[in-house]
């Protein structure tokens, strides 16, 4: 799998109408002591214009690394070893990660919001400087103009007395406020697409709700798309149009939000849905946990990585390599499972 260069769809310049991003067979690996971790192991997905796409999985499933690969922010010992990232007709992976082309896209056409507002803001620069930086770089604004726009942005994301707070440093803001600043930076240049990687996980419930609503209204304001990376099934149920479920570096199921929740096909998706307590159910339901632990990504045998934990596994699953994503019931609904494949025809 990893030797493949990943040319599956030949000419992607002819995009289907409304398609903004197409990722083909993306592969990213990390060289670590003891072997190679295939963190992203052949991931393909699309994001349409003005769409909210949810990417769901547990820690270590490669959901964050896949997003960082798209914007080429993978640091050593990590390396993108294959695949294509088509964005507005260009394959981003053919650009140098530090080159002018990539820098013109990162932070401008593709905005980013990361999980840790504490660490993703530079502690020695004022909030104002961090906001004006991308405005000056991407939109050619002058100091005065960019400062005015920065204050407007802070105001938009609900930071009171924005003008004076421009000269404050990140540590003078609370966690929620910092994430508001991150959102302001993320949408500063009216991006076509915003990647939000666990944007609210470190925050309190009511702050989470505030910020998700804010992020949504901001991205709607600039008519962009949103890629929402999260482990929280509730959040994607509320916001996403389409969902990709990841496990051990691969997408195991994809489909419309309703199909994923009401007609889940992959045993892992089913397991996830059964294992979370729900606010709206009666007390005392026995949760159905997924037995075992997530796999160690070093030296995995070439078979379905969910096999050791799967309640529906069969002989075929043990002997054969990972199955491909096969269509199942529902529009664009696909699952990577031998036991479920072919159910669409039945």
């Amino acid at each position: 799998m990893s030797t493949q260069t990943g040319i599956q769809t030949p000419a992607c310049d002819i995009r289907p109408a409304g398609e903004l991003l197409r990722v083909n067979d993306l592969q990213t690996e990390f060289k670590v002591e003891g072997g190679i971790v295939h963190a992203v192991n052949g991931v393909s997905y699309t994001v349409n214009e003005r769409e909210i796409v949810g990417i769901v999985g547990e820690s270590g499933c490669g959901k964050s690394v896949s997003q960082l690969s798209v914007i080429q922010l993978i640091r050593k010992p990590g390396r993108i070893v294959g695949g294509e990232v088509w964005f507005e007709g260009d394959n981003l992976l053919k650009y140098d990660s530090k080159g002018a082309e990539m820098r013109a896209i990162r932070g401008a056409k593709i905005g980013m919001i990361f999980q840790e507002p504490m660490t993703s803001l530079n502690p020695v620069l004022t909030i104002g400087r961090q906001l004006t930086e991308s405005l000056e770089l991407h939109l050619d604004m002058k100091r005065k103009e960019s400062r005015k726009r920065a204050a407007e942005l802070l105001n938009l994301v609900g930071i009171p007395s924005a003008e004076t707070r421009l000269d404050d440093y990140p540590h003078q803001f609370s966690g929620g406020m910092r994430q508001r600043v991150m959102i302001a930076i993320g949408v500063a240049c009216q991006p076509r697409m915003l990647i939000a990687d666990e944007p609210t996980t470190a925050l309190d419930c009511t702050t989470q709700a505030q910020l998700l609503e804010l992020m949504l209204s901001m991205i709607e304001g600039c008519r962009g798309s949103l890629v929402l990376v999260t482990h929280n099934l509730g959040v994607v149920a509320r916001y996403a149009n389409r969902i990709y479920i990841m496990y051990a570096g691969k997408i195991v199921e994809q489909g419309l939000c309703r199909d994923i929740f009401y007609r889940p096909q992959h045993p892992y998706t089913v397991g996830l849905l059964n294992s979370v307590p729900r606010l709206d159910e009666e007390r005392g339901r026995r949760l159905v946990p997924i037995e075992g632990t997530p796999p160690n990504l070093i030296g995995m045998p070439d078979r379905c990585a969910f096999y050791p934990r799967c309640p529906e596994r069969g002989e075929q699953c043990r002997l054969q390599p990972w199955p491909e994503l096969e269509p199942v019931e529902g529009e664009g609904h696909m699952a990577r499972c031998y036991m479920r494949a072919g159910r669409a025809e039945e």
Binding site: T206, A209, P277
Partner: protein, 341 residues
């Protein structure tokens, strides 16, 4: 599990009038000091007048956002902090000011399970010795065979292979570590276990394993009580017999999970409930969304009167001056709000 009368746990909780815990007017202020002489310049009012009762065998959920004082309440009860004011009656005895020497024999009745399965286990101690230490300290075992047998039984009880006793914490996964923490908490055969965010550091699929384990332990025991502290309302609701919602050091509402979900009364509880997403698109689309303005104020300088008044949609001038107290409204449902009658 379908009707209340079938579950032994419900019988013991609802019928047993015996109080395991009676907390009254608990306050915990942390001083803020400055300078070389540690001059006191202010106070963090982490817990500011919390009262509740717990029956034997009951599980009380403490829920709220960070800084609301839920962890501090747990730590006061386990005597990790000495409260500023208020009393804690444990099995009818006042343990608030009891000297440590006198308290020592009662210490084994209260255990704590911590949030961070990485930070709460000594990396240089083997798993077996971590679990077995309370047995030795409390003098609960006579011989070495007895000790090994007890530790082995504890490993089995929490679903760990006793062969792993000699291994060290770093050799275990997060879920397994939390199992070690649970085994340690159960070693001294406590009657009250304080679980402080026991699953929030774990992955979704592992969370369910630990929640089920805690529920099994409760059902398999005679009258084990839990205080379950968490910020995730779905988990708390799933696990608790009663839930206390905290905001800035005070309990604003305390009731059963069903009543809390069907009939939340305090405006903060309603906002908190609406902020939790249900993994079901249709239900989500139909749910009421209340987005609160602003953030939780600092407990260093909390608002006067009802601490929620600045963010409350139904606040009146009166709320700025009067501190609401918990009022009994209906069956097993108490609310602290001036405007809810």
């Amino acid at each position: 599990m379908t009707t209340a009368t079938e579950t032994p746990q419900v019988v013991t909780t609802a019928r047993s009038k015996e109080l395991v815990l009676d907390v009254d007017g608990l306050k915990m202020y942390f001083p803020i000091t400055r300078g070389l002489l540690k001059r006191k310049v202010g106070e963090v009012k982490a817990v500011d007048g919390v009262s509740f009762k717990m029956r034997r065998g009951e599980t009380l959920g403490l829920v709220g956002e960070s800084g609301c004082g839920k962890t501090t309440v747990g730590r006061c009860i386990s005597r990790l902090y000495k409260p500023t004011a208020g009393t804690i009656l444990f099995n009818g005895e006042d343990i608030t000011t009891m000297p440590e020497k006198e308290f020592r024999p009662r210490r084994r009745d209260i255990s704590v399970i911590f949030q961070d399965p990485y930070g709460s286990l000594d990396p240089r101690q083997s798993a077996g010795s971590i679990v077995g230490e309370p047995l030795k300290i409390q003098g609960m075992v006579e011989t070495k065979e007895d000790y090994l047998e007890r530790v082995e039984a504890l490993f089995g009880k929490v679903g760990l292979d006793p062969d792993l006793m000699g291994r060290y914490p770093h050799e275990f996964s997060g879920g397994q570590r939390q199992r070690i923490g649970i085994a340690r908490a159960l070693a001294n055969d406590p009657s009250l276990v304080i679980c402080d965010e026991p699953v929030s550091a774990l992955d979704v699929s592992i969370q369910a394993q630990i929640i089920n384990l805690l529920m099994d332990l409760r059902e398999g025991s005679s009258g084990l009580s839990y205080i379950f502290i968490a910020h995730d309302l779905s988990v708390v609701k799933h696990f608790s017999d009663r839930i206390a919602v905290m905001y800035l050091g005070r309990i604003v509402e305390i009731t059963t999970p069903e009543e809390l979900y069907d009939n939340p009364l305090h405006p903060y509880t309603r906002a908190l409930l609406s902020a939790v997403c249900v993994p079901d698109p249709d239900i989500e689309a139909a749910r009421e969304r209340i987005v609160l303005q602003g953030e939780v104020p600092s407990p260093v300088n909390p608002p006067s009167g009802c601490t929620f008044h600045a963010r409350c949609p139904i606040a009146t001038p009166e709320c700025r001056t009067t501190i609401p107290t918990l009022k009994e409204l209906g069956d097993d449902h108490e609310v602290a709000c001036l405007h809810i009658q």
